[in-house]
Subunit: 520 residues, 2 copies
């Protein structure tokens, strides 16, 4: 379903949707190993992704920065690549967790099966040589003689179809050995045959003689309804962006949402569980030289054909050959230079890169989420701690230079307290708002509290340079003692007059400042 | 431990730390009902919070906006208050989940126990009257006669000590009934006596004849090590901020982190599980009229004294009286006016308010997290979609007006594509960077890809107005075809010259643009 729908709606030529390790883990924890719940989760995830796509919420994915993607793809290349080393060497009983995998692979290296290792390394060598050859083939010139041009064409075809050829050849070798009676390779073996039935997703199930209705099923899935659609999206877009930047094209996150949503929605009619972009298969797709999303049609048709009729042919494919294809496909995605580049260009970006890279070895989803959070913090720090210019004059002029949003209001209050309200230099303050283009309620409240504190200490707090809609918000809030002048000069003049007025009135202990005055 | 340490390190006079419902649920899911794991989690959470406090990471908490806090406190007031209604009426077997609780409380209203209901409603009435009286007491004047002043003092003391007096009086009534042999009230009953032993937290445990070492224990707790310290912090600071804004004081999030960290660290030595600010107890504390954090000393001393000696005295306290005290304490935290205020002042802020308010009825932690995420999205939207001015001249001048950070680069590229690179109006572009104060690697990469596309179409992409450290980053990235002019005028002049140069050279199909030229 992923192949057929993505080729119509997707925006990346390389991405292939399908079941992945991460999604399998997530689904198993939210669907409690109950297939009906998993299929319903697919259906609902699809609906949620479709709605997000229609609401144009794809902009959320702009928050996955390039260092996060590089960290994720480099770590995924290492883990997926290394995961195949055990198959390449014919090792058994190696745990899945990366650190343990590395440890046990080296521990049991002496258990290597000679047949698998020889075949695997040969395939790997052939693939690497062909890969290099393809890069090195010069353009055909019309001046060359025919035999040269034909041989160049043959090399080009061999190099382009190298993955298929290597697997085919290895399969033939294994078949030949099988005929002689001995089998030195680990084979793919029997694959269950047949296609799933076409039926609507289950909206009620019977569990141990008790019917679970739609509402209860949804309640059972719970937070999975938020986690599964978002993680699926995150993984797909991270992969799509990685291959897009390597191959110089752009993707549209909203369109990706629609593609994933439709795939899951329709997938639930063939008992699929939620799908997402698969790093390994996408890499093989890209390395095989796919040129348009229509490649998905061929992949999909082959998968259907294989499930229905061809599984017996796959029996003889040696696992080591497949491992070699995968290693060759993911290896180019490991980018060691990015560490040096970031060191030279922008060192701060090494933080999200390293966080993502190292956490991805623990769990890919934690790596991506932590990376996005770290780049989010780097992004938001200037919002929470904006530049604020303080000019000491007769009054103190305080000017936020890049807007003032709620995370910065406590910071502003602390500055005002330190500069104006604390002993011994108690002074009036002019807040220059000319660079504030919007204001939220938390800021309004903070300013109102500041106004009160100034009134309490019989000092003045005056606004200047307010933009029209900011002024509107402040007027609507009806702050006590709010005073506004259009320019800094007017404010300073106004402050002087106010000073005299208050000076004359302080004697009788009543305060002129409690009136709400707006002067423009 | 919370009482004693918070009074030294905390910055809110009202907050009381202790076990809460939310934290209990979180701990039970990460510690698998194994007390040793819970105590270790307390220790590690304390360490993590301490380190966060020392690293001054408290600024993260500035991202809890006022609408989120109001949504949380209003919802908490409703749920905690309503949770006591069943106790006030003496109802039994009411489920904990809020919606079900409301439903079953009304279903079983006819099972109300007369004694509990009469006592509860009487206590509630007395408390409410005393609360109003305290607000209404005028200042003592020296001119008044002594009896008036004395009676006014008595009223003031009664109104101030109303919570203690009501509980004491209700306890005496219940004791009197007990003496007569009948008991119309539900009583607090037996409380287990004794203090926990002082011992270090367990760094290894024996589970079913197998020793679990520190590393394995940490692995078992897993993501709890991130969730528990953060949720504890979030809840404490949300409560502290709510009471701070109601009582006009300010809190320091870094100091709160240190206070919580130390409390958990030392708490793990008395077998505590992770503590956090408790909404109900903090509200009772505030309503009882606590004036300084030293109130914690008295609370703590009373708790210790009670656990060691006084539990038998608490036997006769009717539950309905305690329920009345709690309802009176949390009721003022429900703020219906905030909805109207936000509608008048800033309607956009209603979104985080409503999201937080309604989700808090489901699960408080989801409510707060969703509210913070929604206000984060509102905050980040302008970062992802900044204002970009486009001036159509001979070349197109594109000027980001509020900086350019990684979430905006795809947006910028789309604008450039639409305005300059798409048929039929293919034109050169001048990027005016005078308002860009910093640049990250994702932006550099996006600009480099744009440069390549322009070179490919034989159009020019020129930078102007770069600030010194932005220029530095771009130079370090060594972009192909990068050209920079200090002013817009120079850039337009430079573009003209380049135009002529290229115009003369286009004939021989070589491109002058592939050289890296930096002109300043």
């Amino acid at each position: 379903m992923g192949c057929f729908i993505y080729c119509l709606l997707g925006t990346s030529k390389d991405v292939t949707l399908g079941p992945t390790a991460i999604m399998s883990l997530l689904v198993s924890s939210y669907a409690f190993h109950e297939p009906a719940l998993a299929v319903l989760l697919t259906f609902l995830s699809g609906c949620i992704q479709l709605v997000m796509g229609l609401l144009q919420l794809g902009f959320i994915l702009d928050f996955i920065s390039h260092p996060v993607i590089k960290g994720f793809t480099s770590a995924a290349a290492v883990t997926i690549g290394f995961n195949q080393v055990k198959t390449l060497l014919g090792l058994h009983n190696i745990p899945q967790q990366f650190v343990l995998q590395v440890y046990y692979t080296f521990c049991r290296i002496n258990e290597t099966r000679a047949g698998d290792a020889i075949l695997g390394v040969s395939c790997l060598t052939v693939l690497m040589v062909l890969q290099q050859m393809k890069k090195g083939i010069p353009r055909t010139h019309l001046l060359e003689v025919l035999p040269v041009r034909i041989s160049r064409h043959i090399i080009w075809i061999t190099a382009t179809a190298r993955n298929a050829l290597v697997v085919l050849f290895a399969g033939l070798v294994a078949y030949a050995f099988q005929m002689t009676g001995s089998q030195p390779f680990s084979l793919t073996g029997t694959i269950p045959q047949g296609l799933p039935p076409l039926q609507p997703p289950p909206f009620s199930i019977i569990v141990s003689n008790h019917t679970l209705y739609f509402g209860e099923m949804v309640q059972a899935i719970g937070p999975g309804l938020a986690v599964v659609p978002l993680m699926g999206l995150l993984e797909t877009v991270a992969i799509a962006k990685a291959f897009a930047s390597q191959n110089n094209y752009q993707i549209d996150p909203n369109q990706e949402l629609l593609a994933m949503g439709f795939t899951n929605l329709l997938g639930s009619f063939v008992s699929s569980y939620p799908v997402t972009g698969s790093f390994g298969r996408t890499a093989v797709n890209a390395q095989t030289g796919v040129c348009t999303p229509a490649g998905g049609l061929i992949t999909g048709a082959l998968v259907l054909l294989s499930l229905a009729y061809l599984t017996s042919l796959f029996y003889y494919i040696p696992k080591a050959a497949l491992a070699a294809v995968i290693i060759c496909a993911v290896a180019p995605m490991f980018d060691a230079r990015i560490f040096r580049t970031l060191w030279q260009v922008k060192r701060l970006d090494l933080v999200p890169l390293c966080v993502t890279f190292f956490l991805c070895f623990w769990e890919v989803q934690y790596g991506i989420i932590a990376g996005v959070m770290v780049s989010g913090i780097l992004l938001l720090y200037p919002v929470a701690r904006p530049r604020i210019k303080v000019v000491m004059d007769e009054a103190i002029v305080i000017k936020p230079e890049n807007g003032l949003q709620f995370p910065a209001i406590e910071f502003l209050r602390n500055i005002v307290h330190k500069q104006a309200l604390s002993e011994p230099q108690q002074r009036s303050v002019i807040l220059d708002c000319s660079h504030i283009s919007s204001i939220d309620y938390t800021v309004v409240l903070g300013l109102s509290e500041l106004l009160q504190e100034f009134q309490h200490q019989e000092l003045r707090f005056i606004f200047t340079g307010l933009q029209a809609h900011v002024l509107e918000v402040l007027l609507a809030a009806d702050l006590e003692g709010f005073r506004n002048f259009s320019t800094l000069n007017d404010a300073e003049k106004g402050l002087g007059e106010l000073h005299i007025a208050i000076g004359g009135m302080l004697g009788d202990n009543s305060s002129v400042l409690t009136t709400t005055g707006i002067i423009q």
